[in-house]
Every structure is written in C-alpha cells, then in structure tokens.
C-alpha cells in the first residue's frame, strides 16, 4: 500500500498532538501534555479511490529551549503547519519554520491549519493575515481539535495534494 510520511509543525501548544489524537483516535483532552521529541501514529485512508497509509509525525513545538530538529522532517511527503488562532505570534513562527523546512526537504505539499476555532471570542487572526497567506499562495483551513470541526477535511485535503 502507498505509504506517506506527514509531519505536524508549529509553535508549542498550538494543538499538533491534539489534532492527531482527534484524527486518529477520535479523542480530545483539555489537559496540556507537552511533547518532547516525536510521537508517530498511523492512519489508513482512502482518497479518490486510492488507499493510503499516512504515517503521522507529531513533532514537538518550537520554543526557547527546543528548536525543532530538522532531521525529523527527512522523508516527509507533506506537512501541516499548525497555528493557534488565539495566539497570533504562532503564525509568525510558522512563517519562519516553513522556510527552514523547505530548505531541508525541498518543495512538498503543505497546508496551514488555524486550530482552536472554537475559541472565536479570543481569535487573533485577522483578514489581513489570511490575505498574506493568499499572497504567498498558501492553502489554509480553520478547525478545532476540540470539537473536531475541519480536522478530517484538513488531512484529506493534504492527502489529495500528495496524490
């Protein structure tokens, strides 16, 4: 079966682990447990009549003490840039990370996920931010690991881009 490695990339506590847990196991927890290193999960899907085995690499977030090891990204067929919509600076983080990732593994499909869409009252992402993404020709989606909104769609969209 066709097997593809996909990495979750973004600042810490944006919801990378939660998105994978929601997508693969269908579960969610409000308790924050930080990731150190990588957790690997599998998910079989079928897109456009093609069976795919997604190998999901949930990589620790970037912060003051843990810089993301680019070697973790080697061999990725695609990646998801995760932004916490209630922390606008995490968008700046993915802008920086994306160019580092591209330097390491070259041009492969990616999608930006604005997570925590359930917290609309704290939303810090504005129209002009989305416009900037459009200008960069970045594909993005909104969603919530908490409610499950948009999560599956995001992974499917990315899978379609890989085929």
């Amino acid at each position: 079966m066709l097997q593809k490695k996909i990495c979750m990339v973004g600042a810490f506590a944006t919801g990378k682990t939660s998105l994978v847990a929601r997508y693969v196991q269908g579960i969610y927890s409000d308790k924050y447990q930080t990731t150190v290193g990588v957790k690997i999960d599998k998910k079989n899907i079928s897109v456009s009549g093609q069976d795919l085995n997604l190998i999901l690499w949930d990589i620790h977030g970037e912060d003051e003490f843990q810089k993301i090891r680019m070697s973790y990204l080697r061999g990725s067929a695609a990646y998801i840039l995760v932004v916490d919509g209630t922390r606008r600076d995490t968008l700046g983080t993915v802008f920086q990370l994306q160019s580092k990732v591209e330097d390491t593994i070259g041009k492969v499909p990616f999608i930006t996920m604005f997570n925590k869409y359930d917290l609309s009252q704290d939303w810090e992402i504005g129209e002009e931010d989305l416009e900037e993404l459009t200008q960069r020709q970045w594909l993005y989606c909104m969603g919530s690991a908490r409610t499950g909104l948009g999560v599956e769609e995001c992974f499917i969209k990315l899978a379609q881009m890989m085929l």
């Binding site: 097997q3 593809k4 447990q33 930080t34 290193g37 070697s71 200008q135």
Partner: protein, 326 residues
C-alpha cells in the same frame, strides 16, 4: 578504543545493554530487511520477516531509506505505546544500519522541565493579555504589577527596540508595506519581552518601549532586559529582512497610572527613560547599546560588552557599552 582497559569497556557495555535495551536492524539499499536482533519487541517490532521489504513492517522508516546522509540521530521517537526510543542510523556502502535504545526515562525528565517552561510561558501571555484588555488598570497595578497606582519611585530597566526595516514605502505589495513589517516585528518581539518578565509599555513610531522590574521576578531587571535583548537580536537575525536596534538603560524612575484620554495607562518618568529614548533616535541596526548602571549589574555578562561612544554625544556624557557577540 579510547585506550580503556578491557574490564572497563566490558563493564560500560554491560551497563548500556542492561539499561538501554538495544536493538538493531540491517536494511539493504533496496529496502529489504537483512538482519535484526536485540530487544526489537520492546519497540513494537515483533513479527519481523527477513528478506522482505521494510515498508510494510517498520512504518517509522517511511521516506527515510536509503539514508541520504552518512548518519542520523533522533533522540526521542515514540514508535510503540509507552516506549520512547533513541535512534541512530548510519549508512554503509552496501546497507543501512539502525540502532534503537530505550530513552523513556530520559524523555520523562525532559518532559518534566519542558512542561513547566511551556506552562509558564502560556501563563505569562494570559497575564499580559488581561493586563492589556479586560482587567481594570487599577486592579492590574495592584494584583499583577508590583507598583502603587498612585505613583512611586522604583528602579526599572527600560528597553527600547526599534525596527529598522520600515523605511521604504512600497504600496505595491503588502509584504513590503512598512505597517505590515512593523506588525510582524512587534509580534516577534513582544513574546520575547513577555517571556523574560518585561511588560510592553507603549510603542512610539517604529519603536517599542518595554519595562522590566514592574512584574515580580527573582532576577534583577537589567539582566531580564539584556536576556530579552539578546533573544530579540537572534530572532531578527533568523528572519530575513528584519533588522533591529536596541537600547537598555537602568535607574530610578517614577511609575504610576495616569489618566490619558479615556483610560489610565502606565506611566514611567525619569532620566533613564529620557536617555533610552534619546539613544534610540540615533541607534543603528543590529546593535545593542546599554548605559553604565545597566552594565554595572551584569556580572559575567559584562564580558559581552565593550565601551563605545556614539557620534553626536558630548565627551562629558556618561559612558555607554555596546554588545559584542562572543
């Protein structure tokens, strides 16, 4: 090997084998499993079939083989429930080798510390948010800031960070728009200031003014301000097209809340503030200039600073120091 006596080598090896549960895989360049051994089942690698492709057997290797570089190291990889492996891979002319060791305990230690760091960082952000928005400034001053709303004398460190790349106005693309640049700059700089225990006082033109020492901390204000400054310099270096000029001063100022327009804002008055704003006017990209009171409190960090004189300043003016990356 390192010229160690045989018993020592044997003993060290026995410790590694005993505590780390090593396992290995040998894989041909075509992706066929040639050999395996050690504690493979610990890492969920049971039922391995020799002389068959690894693709369907060992899923964490997807995309990685054959190795593109001579060696690769991944310190923490959770490939089976409850077990975290440290993985070394290296390439030989004919085959690739993979070594797995148990790093579960080591990982747990890291998680403990990292969790605290991240929790604190999130908490700070929350604090800063409530300071800025919802909370009444009077309440904020009493409960979060370590100051009297009616005004008091306090020793603070003042950091002024100027964004130097906003000059050219090009309305054609929003990316070159100075406002967008300043915005990107502020969102890079602000969390660094908050992380080091500072609060953002105001922004004037293309500069941001932060004060350290108003929030309770175990570190002295000038050290916090310098730590923030160095991280800002590094962050700007990482980001193409963004340059910054930084100034830090320290000294006694009067702080309090002042009615400005419709709301009360934190107000800081005094010589260190005037000096910082003055120095900021002429400061140049990729520099960090500090005054003597700041310098005097830096202990070992003093080694990273050199006396400097700025053009346009009279000889009688107080000495200044500039940051030199070691």
């Amino acid at each position: 090997m390192l010229n160690l006596p045989e018993p020592i080598v044997t003993f060290l090896c026995s410790i590694v084998v005993r505590d780390r549960f090593p396992a290995y895989l040998q894989i041909s360049k075509a992706g066929v499993l040639l050999a395996f051994g050690g504690a493979c089942d610990r890492y969920g690698l049971d039922h391995l079939h020799l002389h068959q492709s690894v693709d369907d057997q060992i899923f964490f290797l997807t995309g990685l083989l054959p190795l593109q570089e001579p060696a690769m190291h991944m310190p923490f990889l959770q490939i089976a429930e409850g077990v975290i492996a440290e993985i070394h891979m290296f390439a030989e002319p004919e085959d690739d080798w993979i070594i797995l060791c148990d790093a579960t305990l080591e990982n747990a230690k890291h998680v403990l510390i990292q969790q605290k760091v991240n929790d604190l960082s999130l908490l700070r952000r929350e604090q800063a948010k409530s300071l800025g928005h919802s909370m009444h400034p009077d309440v904020a001053a009493k409960t979060i800031l370590d100051i009297q709303p009616t005004g008091e004398q306090k020793s603070l460190a003042i950091l002024v960070a100027k964004c130097c790349s906003t000059a050219e106005l090009d309305a054609q693309t929003t990316q070159a728009n100075p406002l967008r640049k300043l915005d990107a700059y502020l969102s890079t700089v602000s969390p660094l200031i908050l992380d080091e225990g500072g609060i953002i006082h105001q922004n004037i033109g293309n500069s941001i003014v932060a004060v350290f020492g108003a929030l309770p901390s175990t570190r002295i204000a000038p050290k916090q301000a310098i730590a923030a400054s160095i991280r800002i310099l590094e962050a700007c270096e990482d980001q193409q097209h963004s340059q910054c000029a930084l100034v830090v001063t320290t000294g006694i100022v009067t702080v309090g809340l002042l009615q400005v327009g419709f709301g009360k804002t934190l107000t800081v008055i005094g010589e260190p503030m005037d000096l910082a704003v003055n120095l900021n006017k002429n400061s140049e990209a990729e520099t960090l200039i500090i005054d003597k009171p700041t310098f005097d409190q830096l202990d070992q960090m003093q080694r990273s600073f050199m006396p400097t004189s700025l053009s346009g300043r009279s000889a009688s003016a107080a000495p200044l120091y500039s940051y030199c990356k070691l």
